[in-house]
């Protein structure tokens, strides 16, 4: 331990404690506590969890309340032991009236949960939340949820929604008061309007064995969006998805950003997933790209752990491939810290790059802040990012500590949001999750210990 590349654990602990002290208390957020209870119930019993998740997943496809109730009891019927509230539900399902009531209650429950993670059905609906966040010193990145893109018409529709969102976000944010801390860092101005997009939604042609196909097709729509973002002075962030599409997405984005017409804008960013064993190579590539282009806007690199862990493991096991992600959680965490340092050192060394550390793990976040300070960088050389619904408390605490925080805000209807919602719920109830640890009352020293 304690090699040259190791931040002083005491420094991490100090930062972590300071952030932790600023967490809002649960008492102030009664609804939140209620939700956490439901999730807690789900995380304790694997069968129940599976049943509830399958139910949440099918809600938008149910034709009426009766159908909804039949699905719910169908799933619950596969759970061996019924905790009391579920035994009640099973009894209700015996009659039509019971099923209607049960369906209505369950639908309301799912909607309630969805609202925790999805800020509104449209950008318009989300305006209030964005304004409120801004006033509290929190920036956003908006993500448009959608069904899977399997046709050109669907890709066009998503691209159109993105283009409109860029316009709407620009208009919304133009009216808001100055927040210097969110609009400026040492490398220059930061756009207020910020949109995250998914390449898999911009083309129906992403094929793992033929990355060129998807790249070529998505390039047309992505180029249009980059032009629009440049025109509006907005930031465009390209999310990273499953390993199948990584080559296509990384190549596509870096190639487009290197095109001369984008030399003076827009501000743009990519994502680096620390759970990937080969992420250090991509990190090197991104740093090299940031350092070698003459783009006016520094490349934003959002560092995440990665949202497709189960998928990657199952996919690899079903095919007999070596698993591309770390299989021990602490390895992902350690790599996250190493990559944090890699990005921040590049920044400290003069590379025009903007590291954005996206995590709800207090240790990971505190580590990033500590390394920033250790390297002699200013706090505003670092951006921290959280997901709406998962990182709300952390978001407030970071803002209260004067750190720049951006909240990723999904927008869309329930049907479109279901895949997203299920993924977040799974993440939240996973045994490996920091948030689950935190919720179960693990002491702060342990939460902040080096992985």
């Amino acid at each position: 331990m304690g090699g040259a590349a190791r931040t002083d654990d005491q420094a991490v602990l100090d930062v972590g404690r300071a952030i932790h002290a600023a967490f809002p208390s649960a008492g102030r957020r009664p609804l939140r506590a209620l939700d956490d209870k439901a999730m807690d119930l789900a995380s304790q019993d694997e069968e129940l969890k599976a049943a509830l998740f399958r139910f949440v997943d099918v809600v938008p496809a149910c034709r009426n309340l009766d159908d909804l109730a039949r699905h719910l009891t169908g799933f619950l019927g596969e759970v061996d032991e019924h905790p009391p509230p579920i035994a009640v539900a099973m009894r209700m399902s015996g009659t039509k009236a019971g099923r209607t009531a049960l369906g209505a209650a369950a639908a309301a429950g799912v909607r309630h949960m969805a609202h925790r993670f999805i800020v509104g059905e449209t950008v318009d609906d989300a305006t209030g939340v964005m304004r409120d966040l801004w006033e509290r010193g929190v920036a956003t990145s908006v993500d448009l949820l959608g069904e899977a893109t399997i046709t050109q018409a669907e890709a066009d529709r998503y691209a159109r929604r993105c283009a409109e969102a860029l316009d709407q976000l620009t208009a919304v944010y133009a009216k808001l008061p100055p927040r210097p801390q969110l609009e400026q860092d040492a490398l220059g101005p930061l756009p207020r309007a910020n949109l995250s997009v998914k390449v898999s939604a911009l083309t129906p042609l992403l094929r793992p064995d033929a990355p060129e196909l998807g790249k070529r097709d998505a390039a047309v729509r992505l180029r249009d969006l980059l032009r629009r973002a440049k025109d509006r002075g907005a930031h465009l962030h390209i999310d990273m998805e499953s390993y199948d599409s990584i080559e296509a997405i990384a190549d596509l984005v870096l190639e487009l950003l290197a095109e001369p017409e984008f030399a003076d804008g827009p501000s743009a960013g990519v994502v680096l997933q620390a759970y990937l064993r080969d992420s250090p190579a991509l990190a090197d590539r991104l740093v090299a790209f940031a350092g070698s282009t003459t783009r006016a806007h520094p490349l934003v690199v959002r560092l995440v752990k990665g949202a497709y862990w189960d998928h990657e493991v199952v996919e690899a096991l079903q095919h007999g491939w070596s698993v591309p992600v770390f299989e021990v959680k602490a390895d992902s965490d350690r790599n996250f810290e190493a990559l944090t340092r890699r990005l921040l050192e590049a920044r400290a060394g003069g590379t025009p790059i903007r590291p954005a550390i996206a995590s709800h793990n207090l240790r990971s976040v505190a580590h990033a802040v500590a390394v920033t300070r250790e390297l002699g960088l200013r706090d505003d050389d670092l951006e921290l990012q959280v997901l709406r619904g998962l990182g709300d408390d952390l978001q407030d605490a970071l803002a209260a500590n004067g750190l720049r925080v951006r909240t990723y805000c999904p927008v869309g209807d329930l049907v479109a949001g279901m895949a997203y919602l299920v993924r977040r719920l799974l993440e939240n109830t996973s045994n490996e999750s920091f948030l689950a640890d935190q919720a179960s009352g693990t002491p702060i020293e342990q939460l902040l210990a080096a992985p």
Partner: protein
């Protein structure tokens, strides 16, 4: 016996397909293709015992470029076939005496031989049968799986079965080889299917006369090469090249005791009829292990997630131009979501990748030959006449391309709803509910694969109970059965109910024998 032969074989696991999302793996396949293209056409000889007879009466060409010759082969005469059976009969006598364990090792060595050359073998599938890369690679993996799986299965079978024992008596159940197996194989899994049937026969101590499809003599030749190189004695594995006539001669030969066939319903039924004859002097009843076609339906209930269902249906129906016996040909969709599904299906058709098999990303390659192209076109015309074509797709001019087509609004008695097209054609029928769909499935004489998209566990169970098919897939594509994981084969007129790649497949290649020995002597149990 070597020391290694005494050790247990490691537990079976499927050969991993290449991870084609990695550029280095794609490069590897392209090198295999460059190697193949740099060589003269495969000399796909008839190979009886040690005697090789080359010829060019039958030439296989690249379906995507019919000018390109892939392999040249002779056409065996009835006399050649008779000779092959005679050699096999001798071969069978020696091969059955080889311990099961050693026979298994030979198969495992053949698997290793193929593993080392997988990119070259995949390239041959690409050229000779226009299988797109991922599927060609999967074909080689399946071939390896069959070898490894049956090798292990035969060792287990050789241990016999536990029987009820009482004092003074010893009961043993053993399985004996049946003799000469005739294997008649299709071209659509040009290496996997013939090697699967052949390996099952060899593993259980039978000798084989293999007749590969006339469209894929080159693939047939290399798989024999693999087995011979691994140590299958020449007389135990004989290759005759040819078409229907050679096949008929093989089926009719009274010395052949088992016939393993995968192919069309018409030929399958003819084989069953022929095999029923017992001419003077024939000492056994012929057994047939037969896989024929299907008319595979995918049921989509109202609660299905179309994000998943549509891509799965498209790949089940159109990958490899629908030339799989497991391919989807009818969609039976709940009327509540029929319009949404049809619209998304039509949109997905637009982005289907129709092209040459050697291009990564191609989903719909050319069909295997002109005749197939014409057959698909006939059915497509029928759809246009009797119903409404929802979507179709442009195809390149050169090569035997058949336009992928989705049709709907067909009358209930339309032939295209009953007959196997074996090409890129899919029909869509709205149904009242899943029971309506099950009734339609139940009315079909064939029952190979089926699909169901539904998220209500009660409904899933209900459909499973009503389903006559041999392989039912729930909430996924209906093709791509894996050895050991999805033992494959149809019911009703789709086949003899034998499950390739399953735990009881080998039983069709053996004769059971029970030996009961009295162990009481002078009133004492000894």
């Amino acid at each position: 016996m070597t020391a290694s032969a005494l050790r247990d074989l490691p537990t079976f696991r499927n050969e991993p397909v290449l991870e084609l999302r990695r550029a280095s793996e794609r490069e590897r396949l392209l090198q295999g293709l460059a190697w193949l293209d740099g060589r003269p056409p495969v000399d796909a000889a008839t190979w009886i015992g040690d005697d090789k007879q080359s010829g060019d009466a039958n030439v296989s060409t690249d379906p995507g470029d019919p000018e390109r010759v892939v392999a040249h082969a002779p056409v065996a005469t009835a006399q050649d076939v008779a000779h092959a059976v005679e050699v096999a009969e001798q071969g069978a006598r020696a091969w059955r005496r080889v311990p099961a364990r050693e026979r298994a090792e030979v198969l495992v060595r053949a698997a290793a031989w193929m593993r080392e050359r997988r990119e070259k073998l995949a390239a041959l599938c690409v050229r000779e049968t226009a299988k797109p890369w991922a599927e060609a690679d999967a074909d080689i993996c399946e071939a390896i799986d069959f070898l490894e799986f049956y090798a292990r299965g035969a060792i287990a079978l050789d241990r016999g079965h536990h029987l009820f024992q009482v004092p003074g008596e010893r009961n043993d159940l053993r399985y004996l080889p049946r003799g000469v197996t005739g294997v008649i194989a299709p071209w659509n899994f040009p290496i996997a299917i013939p090697i699967g049937m052949t390996a099952a026969a060899l593993a259980t101590g039978n000798a084989v006369v293999l007749k590969p499809a006339e469209q894929a003599p080159g693939c047939g030749f290399v798989l024999v090469e693999a087995l011979r190189a691994a140590g299958v004695p020449a007389a135990a594995l004989n290759l005759v090249q040819g078409a229907g006539e050679a096949g008929r001669a093989l089926v009719q030969d009274p010395r052949v005791s088992t016939i393993a066939f995968t192919g069309s319903l018409a030929v399958g039924l003819e084989i069953i009829r022929e095999a029923g004859q017992v001419p003077e002097g024939q000492l056994h009843l012929k057994r047939t292990v037969i896989e024929m076609g299907g008319k595979n339906c995918v049921i989509v209930d109202a609660d299905a997630d179309l994000d998943d269902a549509v891509p799965a249906i498209v790949s089940s129906a159109f990958d490899y131009a629908g030339q799989k016996c497991s391919a989807a040909s009818r969609v039976l969709v709940h009327e509540a979501i029929a319009d949404a599904l049809t619209e998304r299906l039509a949109g997905a058709m637009e982005v289907l990748q129709v092209g040459q098999a050697d291009t990564f990303g191609t989903e719909v390659p050319p069909v295997v030959e002109r005749e197939a192209q014409e057959r698909v076109a006939r059915y497509a015309e029928q759809c246009a006449r009797q119903g409404r074509v929802v979507a179709t797709h442009d195809v390149p001019g050169a090569g035997w391309f058949a336009a992928p087509t989705v049709a709907t609004e067909l009358p209930a008695d339309a032939p295209v709803l009953r007959e196997e097209v074996f090409g890129p054609l899919l029909t869509v029928e709205p149904v009242r509910d899943v029971d309506d769909a099950c009734d339609r499935v139940d009315a079909l004489p064939v029952a190979l694969t089926g699909g169901l998209f539904c998220r209500n566990p009660h409904t899933v169970e209900h459909v499973v109970r009503r389903s006559p098919v041999g392989n039912l897939y729930v909430n996924r594509s209906i093709t791509g059965a894996m050895v050991g994981r999805q033992p494959f084969g149809g019911n009703r007129l789709s086949g003899t109910g034998t499950k390739a790649g399953g735990p009881d497949y080998l039983l069709h290649f053996v004769e059971p024998q029970v030996v009961t020995e009295n162990t009481v002597r002078h009133g004492l149990v000894i």
